[in-house]
């Protein structure tokens, strides 16, 4: 068993150390399920707040109880309308700051814009921009889960607790996949090989890595290094520049490094959004002899047509956590299963409020996780 609820979770929240207020910054009611579960586990009531859109689409926040001198925890799950969700959070944080809250802790299970965390061509590092805006608005601490890149913690000037969903997903594998010892952990692109290794190590399984045609959205082909300026002759740029002797193939053929024949393939990743690359990976694994295909991811964005595509695909099951609400997608596709992570978020809140160590929540977590 990888994740056992500590005994203190069963007891009510110790609120002797000053007040605690729990808010949900979502105007969208479907996004409030996780907040309710967390509040229930902590044995506290959700704080009274109104978050709504004005007729001109501006966001309005009205906090309807005192937060002076209190630890305010603002839970924000990201809806499809991501920019509105961000503004709701920032406005609520700022409202709490100007209302003299002692500390304002953002609980953002899925950190939006986290894929835009490095320079691409002349783009912006949007997750850094978002981090700066949150700090400026008045956030004093952030609790999140499975950041797309752990280095995003360094974009903040405040403490960041990057919790991990892997113990819950590992537990699911062990309890719900009967023949999991005959599985191989698969990275659908080289970028997620580290995560695959982390899972494989703890389950004591082998790994495989897929590489080739189905380039994921983060492929470095969109980086500046593959886009020299459009100039007729190289000499026109600078006489001393040399063209590489071998132009790379546009699309290397899809390859699987590692053996999946006669095995269950478990594809692991942090985000499942646009599912094309997962479907291509599943097809490839089937061709290579995998007899069952599972996809495990922390954040199930499952955008646009994803549920229908999964339902029609070679994938047997998609397992995601409830960092993002996806009840509608589950109705469209019974293959989507949910693992509840409210337990770890509520325990993180309890520990931070009581000034206890967070290390306990990171046991069984490897360096590569």
């Amino acid at each position: 068993m990888f994740c056992v609820a500590p005994p203190e979770l069963e007891t009510k929240m110790n609120i002797t150390k000053g007040g605690l207020v729990l808010f949900s910054a979502n105007s969208n009611s479907s996004c409030m399920e996780l907040s309710k579960k967390i509040a229930e586990r902590l044995g506290v009531e959700m704080g009274k707040v109104q978050v709504y859109q004005e007729p001109n689409r501006e966001t309005r926040v009205q906090i309807q109880e005192s937060v002076r001198g209190k630890d305010v925890f603002i839970i924000q799950t990201i809806s499809k309308d991501v920019n509105t969700t961000i503004m709701e959070l920032l406005i609520m944080v700022y409202a709490c700051k100007t209302s003299c809250a002692k500390s304002i802790i953002g609980v953002i299970p899925y950190f939006p814009y986290s894929k835009q965390c490095k320079m691409r061509k002349r783009g912006s590092i949007v997750s850094k921009l978002l981090a700066s805006m949150m700090c400026k608005a008045g956030l004093t601490h952030l609790i999140t889960m499975d950041l797309h890149q752990k280095e995003i913690q360094g974009f903040f000037n405040i403490p960041v607790d990057n919790l991990r969903a892997s113990p819950f997903l590992l537990q699911y594998i062990q309890e719900e996949i009967p023949d999991y010892r005959n599985a191989v952990i698969v990275a659908k692109s080289p970028a997620s090989a580290k995560r695959a290794q982390s899972f494989a190590e703890r389950l004591r399984l082998g790994i495989a890595v897929i590489h080739g045609e189905a380039q994921d959205a983060e492929s470095d082909l969109v980086d500046g290094r593959h886009s020299p300026p459009m100039v007729r002759s190289v000499a026109a740029i600078h006489p001393s520049l040399e063209i590489p002797m071998l132009i790379p193939k546009e699309k290397p053929p899809i390859t699987v490094v590692g053996d999946v024949g006669g095995r269950i393939a478990i594809i692991v990743d942090d985000i499942i959004d646009d599912v094309d690359s997962f479907l291509a990976a599943a097809e490839t694994l089937k061709e290579r002899g995998a007899y069952k295909i599972f996809v495990m991811a922390t954040h199930g964005l499952l955008s646009s047509d994803a549920p229908r595509l999964i339902e029609e695909s070679a994938i047997d099951e998609v397992v995601v956590t409830n960092t993002i609400p996806h009840e509608i997608q589950k109705l469209q596709c019974p293959k989507i299963k949910t693992v509840d992570i409210s337990m770890i978020l509520s325990e993180a809140i309890r520990r931070i409020h009581n000034g206890e160590s967070m290390s306990y929540l990171f046991r069984n977590i490897g360096l590569d996780d």
Binding site: C117, K118, M119, K121, I125, S127, K128, Q149, K150, E151, I152, Q153, G154, F155, V160, N162, A187, S189, P190, A191, A193, K194, Q197, A200, E201, R204, G206, I207, A208, V209, H211, D220, D223, G224, R225, H226, S227, P228, P229, I237, H238, S240, L241, E242, I243, P244, M245, L246, P248, K249, P252, T255, V257, G258, S357, M358, S359, F362, L367, D368
Partner: protein
């Protein structure tokens, strides 16, 4: 080129000189010394008022002394009215401390980024950051140059059977880097990962991919004590590789690294000169160096002239 000055810190004078030579400039006059209490003192020996200043200092050797020296040089130029100060840091110090990998761990790379900004740096030029997200630790422009084009050039020119090679990552974290090189060479890749079959069993290295009867080229961004790459080399040889090379951008080679390389089965360990290697080459004949001064020099030239730098991401200046 007018209105440009290049200064060298004491960490890598040789690289600074090569950069200046390629640009047809002389290194600026600067005196760096230590007081008896070991404090660093810097005196800029010529006017920098209104100049575009480039300070070359790598994160190696006495790393904290070199970092403080760089910060003091940046600040000295800034308060002497330089119009812009660019720190050229071929090997970024503390780059591996880029995330909280355990409770209460500091993100030291972010601290260094803040220190450089506070000192007065307006721009950073560096090479093969351990994680490119480190660019986001800064609020100033960062050009993260790649050694990859120079590495590809070296492979094609120095390994006769490069068409029959496999590019290998010594750990899962480097898989993305090796696939980029493998694609450009149109060859296969493999990776090595640690596996525990039983709870009380020691980690064993498992090769994922095929190297039998092929030249194996281990690629990573840096090698420090060289334990991982030496184990990986043994693994590759026992898996049937005909020869094993290691190619690394930053050859730190601390502690037992040199003796490990000497005892390992490498044909060659190839590093760039982001860190000085002369001393190490005297003690280890397997170490070979790829000169990247022309990439840094061209980046400086383009930055100074307001030209695009992205061309350098896929091309090597002659």
């Amino acid at each position: 080129m007018s209105n440009i000055k290049i200064f060298s810190g004491s960490s890598h004078q040789d690289l600074s000189q090569k950069i200046a030579d390629r640009l047809g400039l002389e290194l600026g006059k600067v005196v760096t010394k230590k007081f008896s209490n070991q404090e660093t003192c810097v005196e800029i020996g010529e006017s920098v008022r209104g100049e575009d200043v480039y300070i070359v200092q790598s994160g190696c050797g006495e790393i904290n002394d070199n970092l403080m020296e760089l910060l003091i040089m940046i600040n000295a130029c800034k308060i002497a009215s330089a119009s812009r100060v660019t720190a050229v840091i071929p090997c970024f110090p503390y780059a591996r401390q880029d995330k909280k990998d355990k409770s209460r761990a500091p993100i030291s790379a972010k601290l260094v980024a803040n220190m450089l900004s506070v000192a007065g740096a307006d721009h950073i030029i560096t090479m093969d950051l351990h994680a490119s997200q480190i660019q986001g630790f800064f609020d100033i422009p960062v050009d993260n140059l790649y050694a990859e084009p120079a590495v590809l050039k070296w492979i094609r020119e120095n390994i006769s059977e490069w068409r029959n090679c496999t590019i290998v990552s010594p750990d899962a974290g480097g898989a993305k880097r090796v696939t980029s090189i493998a694609d450009r060479l149109n060859v296969d890749f493999a990776l090595i990962h640690k596996e525990r079959k039983k709870a009380n069993e020691v980690d064993r290295m498992v090769l994922v991919g095929d190297v039998k009867d092929r030249v194996a080229i281990l690629v990573d961004d840096m090698a420090d004590t060289c334990g991982t790459i030496c184990h990986a080399a043994d693994k590759l040889l026992s898996a049937g590789a005909t020869r094993v090379y290691a190619i690394l951008t930053h050859g730190i080679f601390s502690g037992p690294a040199i003796s490990r390389i000497n005892n390992a089965c490498f044909e060659a360990v190839v590093v760039t000169n982001t860190i000085p290697q002369e001393d190490k080459m005297k003690h280890c004949s397997k170490i070979q160096v790829i000169d990247i001064s022309m990439i840094l020099a061209e980046a400086i030239r383009r930055t100074h002239n307001g030209e695009s730098v992205s061309y350098l991401f896929s091309h090597v200046p002659l």
